[in-house]
Symmetry: C2
């Protein structure tokens, strides 16, 4: 009798299990994509150049999925001599660290002619993007949008009637290969400010949409609308609410976005909901994404500018522009007033005020109240053998040819510097002045984090090589979100800990450090894998501005062979074979 | 007693064996080189661009060895995202087919940060060179000279008092990456004629060494002599004989070389001695090398021009120039007459006459009198989906991601097209007119040659896409020399066989086909491996102008893992491992 009851229970539980699988599979999908990456002629700003495109498109195709879906992307490298990888920026890759798309870290670069399958779950709704993460292939144009809608039956915590996708980038007329040589040369040749700001891969260099409002000599654009560099018009109905999904994959530029005469209500950052707040314009740094709502409450017989401007560096680049077109007004009717003016580039007060408005919605996970380890990371600009570099605690990151994920998983001690990089910097370092000794050294060591511990990272900015210069750096963490516990001026001290926001800190994957300031982050090292943490300014990363975190690597199972088929891991696996 | 005698004999033989090893090792050396390949700023013609350099040099270091030496070259890839290989042009790689340096054919490309050891014997004295053989890295400047002297105690069959090394190339201001995109685009954008001809990596674009003799508006060069683009002066003593070692690694240009008022006695081609013949100027096609002697029998109070000019294509490129400087005349004294004039670019009669003068010295190996197989290869220009291609017997070569040497050795039938490409073309094909159907298809099939058989190849030229156009193509064979049995006009017929030169045909690795003509080659398939045979014009190879030969692949032993660590061979070897 006991047996019969147990058997019934098991049968019932099994039926429930099957039902749950059916329900889950009816909601969550596996989305199959076949992509080919290749160089192609393109005219992002009216001047023809070469971009890295996907399936003949620039920017690459927009991915649209639902939370819980699995993406299965077969990526074929159609370049002639270059490897390629794609990073899915903001997707935490829980359980799939080999799909993070970082060459030298999570996988071997995909060789020309070969195909790699990125298969991973998009576990959370939000506004994301993807981009190349090898050399400076992001600068070459390898990027696109990744939008994850809420799971079927679920709801966003705000209402909107329509949405627009706005992917921001910056564009140089000098190719990314030559930029790499410039940045690596002795003396370093800086790439300078971008020629053009792009909105969804479109900008204007030799003409201006707003020439009539400008004192510059730029001529008015004469566009038919089907040019590769013609702006994508945002067509709206009056008295509706729209969601702007904004992501910045700029190589360098920090940006400010505004829509003439319209307020923006910011509701999401990096895939996490925010306490909504209203602004006239918003900052967005490379690596960040936002959603902002706006209501079409203005005179519908006019059109309005959406503009982006450079922040934090003296701008030499005209604003990026497109038009908000009220129905039934003609899209070709230009707005009757100049594009909205962003705060002055060096008005850091405005930027800090914006950053401080960003607070998590109550449903957001809360940070642990204490941490197990604090890592202070000093950001300095230095020289190595006369070449300009960026260093973190006096180590300028050089990535090894064998990806860390494989070499750490297999315990290959000759694959990278086994010395752990420092958790701190000299107590008496004066962050307000150029370093006494401006030379540094390169390294490939890893910060090994104890699995499931809570880590605090204090990003400490400093004076660069030149006196009175300190730059903005947006730092991006792979594999995790972190809580931004606070920003401060000057050097971080123990007293600052008491001011940490543990109540509603924003939960994000990218955080900026302001000139001469610090930013405090907290995260839980709960995602087995090896993860890049770096300045999202691509030339800065090229110059060594990053670190590598690793946690729970022994828990990583079944790394696909394709991710290991290079360098010492390739050798290791092949050496076991008798030919 | 029988035992004792045998024992003595064995001891004696053993002593002789040891002695021979000692003698051999005292003569033949292993030469160790460590090379790093990287992009660098350079000014090959007075305009700064980016070149692919080796150890900070452009062209790469000159290798100097003796016949019988082993070269051990540790090549490290310091590029950021590109693979690299180096082909040792003219070295047959007997027993070391994996060291031939052809990506997709003999080895996996060396990934960024990784090192590959090229170890091979240079078994024969001669004038050779090396260059990149991946994408268009040769066009990017990855090349240098490889000079093999006769073994110690041996003598050349001619006398000379000194020698000069002359490596010829052509240079474009548009980078090779962009050239690749241009060539692959729809419609194809042709790269056009080079901006500058380089002698040992040096040419002049914005000025002319011989401006005073020119009707063009070029200004006279004002050089200190230490500029990267200043010519290397050839300093000579009067009444001596000098050897010019000339090799052409041009991407495109066929060249003609002359020294004002000096005869050239041609004595070597592609590492084989010739019946010496005297000329006023000599043709040299991409992939060829020559030695020519000249005697300094002119007025020593003057200097003389060495000039190179374009052949076979309407030249838009000024001559490449340097100066023969007689001691004790000042090197800065310009020659008192204009640079020597080459035959008109389309004077093919002159080129054919030169080619027909090239005959083997009697000591050269003789061709077998008959062959086992004849392969006719029709060279046509075609379209695939609107893109311009070159095809051989209607197949435009596309190289597979997994190198043939490994995939054939391990019998991987899914690594490339298993269908063998055709040995012939349609009997009624009219080589004098554009094809009726200009479309073709791509393929990666292999010509499998029975080991140790004699193969005849008839390279058949034809009309290109445009009526009345047929181009010069210098075809280069890897892993072998071939005998050039003859050249002919129009379509090859059975009657032409009787005119084959079996007595003293030149023995070479590169042979040209003239417009609307054919060239007959014979070689013995006696070198186990997989070997490229292709037009040495790099953009033509990029557009599919090549075939692949394989012979005795099962005899190939111990391919280094590094040559196999990619694609399906990498996968095969890794799949055998349990992780």
């Amino acid at each position: 009798m006991g047996f019969l009851i147990d058997s019934c229970l098991i049968r019932a539980l099994f039926s429930l299990y099957i039902l749950s699988i059916i329900l889950a599979s009816s909601a969550a999908k596996t989305r199959h994509l076949k992509w080919e990456v290749e160089y192609m002629h393109w005219s992002p700003d009216g001047l023809e150049g070469v971009v890295m495109g996907i399936n003949g498109q620039f920017p690459g195709p927009t991915i649209r999925a639902r939370a819980g879906d699995t993406l299965h992307i077969e990526l074929t490298n159609k370049l002639h001599t270059e490897g390629v990888v794609i990073h899915w920026h903001g997707i935490r890759q829980i359980g799939t660290p080999w799909a993070d798309g970082t060459a030298s870290i999570s996988q071997c670069a995909i060789n020309p002619g070969e195909t790699f399958v990125y298969r991973f779950k998009v576990d959370r709704a939000g506004t994301y993007f993807y981009h190349g993460h090898y050399g400076m292939q992001r600068s070459a144009g390898l990027y696109g949008s990744l939008i994850v809608d809420v799971a079927e039956g679920e709801k966003e915590p705000f209402h909107y009637d329509g949405e627009f996708n706005i992917l921001l980038s910056d564009w140089w007329h000098k190719g990314s290969h030559e930029q790499e040589v410039d940045l690596s040369s002795n003396p370093m040749r800086w790439i300078g400010e971008p020629q053009t700001l792009l909105i969804n891969g479109r900008g204007q260099f030799n003409c201006s949409l707003a020439a009539r409002f400008s004192s510059s000599s730029a001529r008015e654009c004469r566009l038919r609308g089907n040019e590769q560099y013609a702006p994508q018009i945002l067509r709206v109905q009056p008295n509706k609410t729209y969601r702007l999904r904004i992501a910045s994959t700029t190589a360098l530029a920090s940006l400010n976005l505004a829509i003439g005469k319209h307020k923006l209500v910011v509701v999401e950052a990096d895939g996490n909901y925010l306490q909504p707040f209203s602004v006239d314009n918003m900052d967005i740094y490379s690596g960040e994404s936002y959603s902002a709502l706006f209501t079409t409450d203005q005179d519908p017989s006019n059109n309005y500018w959406l503009s982006i401007n450079v922040r934090g560096r003296e701008p030499k680049t005209p604003p990026g522009l497109t038009i908000l077109n009220y129905s039934p007004t003609s899209a070709s009717k230009l707005p009757n007033s100049p594009p909205p003016v962003s705060p002055r580039w060096d008005n850091y007060g405005s930027s800090k005020a914006f950053s401080n408005k960003i607070l998590a919605l109550t449903s957001t996970p809360k940070p642990p109240t204490t941490s197990h380890r604090r890592i202070l990371l000093l950001n300095t600009q230095n020289f190595i053998d006369g070449r300009t570099k960026w260093a973190i605690n006096n180590v300028s990151l050089v990535l090894p040819p064998t990806p860390y994920l494989g070499s750490m998983r297999f315990g290959l001690s000759n694959a990278f510097d086994q010395k752990r990089p420092p958790d701190n910097f000299k107590h008496d370092y004066d962050v307000m002045r150029p370093a006494a000794n401006q030379n540094t050294t390169s390294g490939s060591g890893v910060y090994v984090l104890k699995f499931n511990t809570t880590i605090d990272v204090i990003l400490q900015n400093a004076n660069a090589l030149k006196a009175n210069v300190s730059e903005i750096h947006p730092w991006h963490l792979h594999g995790h979100d972190f809580w931004i516990l606070g920003y401060g001026e000057g050097k971080f001290t123990e007293n600052d800990v008491s001011k940490f926001n543990l109540k509603n800190p924003p939960y994000r994957n990218t955080a900026v450090i302001f000139p001469f300031g610090w930013t405090a982050l907290r995260f839980v090292a709960d995602n087995p894998g090896v993860w890049a943490f770096h300045c999202h300014i691509e030339p800065h990363l090229h110059m060594g501005m990053g670190v590598v975190f690793a946690e729970g690597v022994r828990r990583v199972k079944r790394i696909p062979n394709e991710a290991l088929a290079c360098g010492l891991t390739g050798k290791l696996l092949m050496n076991n074979v008798h030919k």
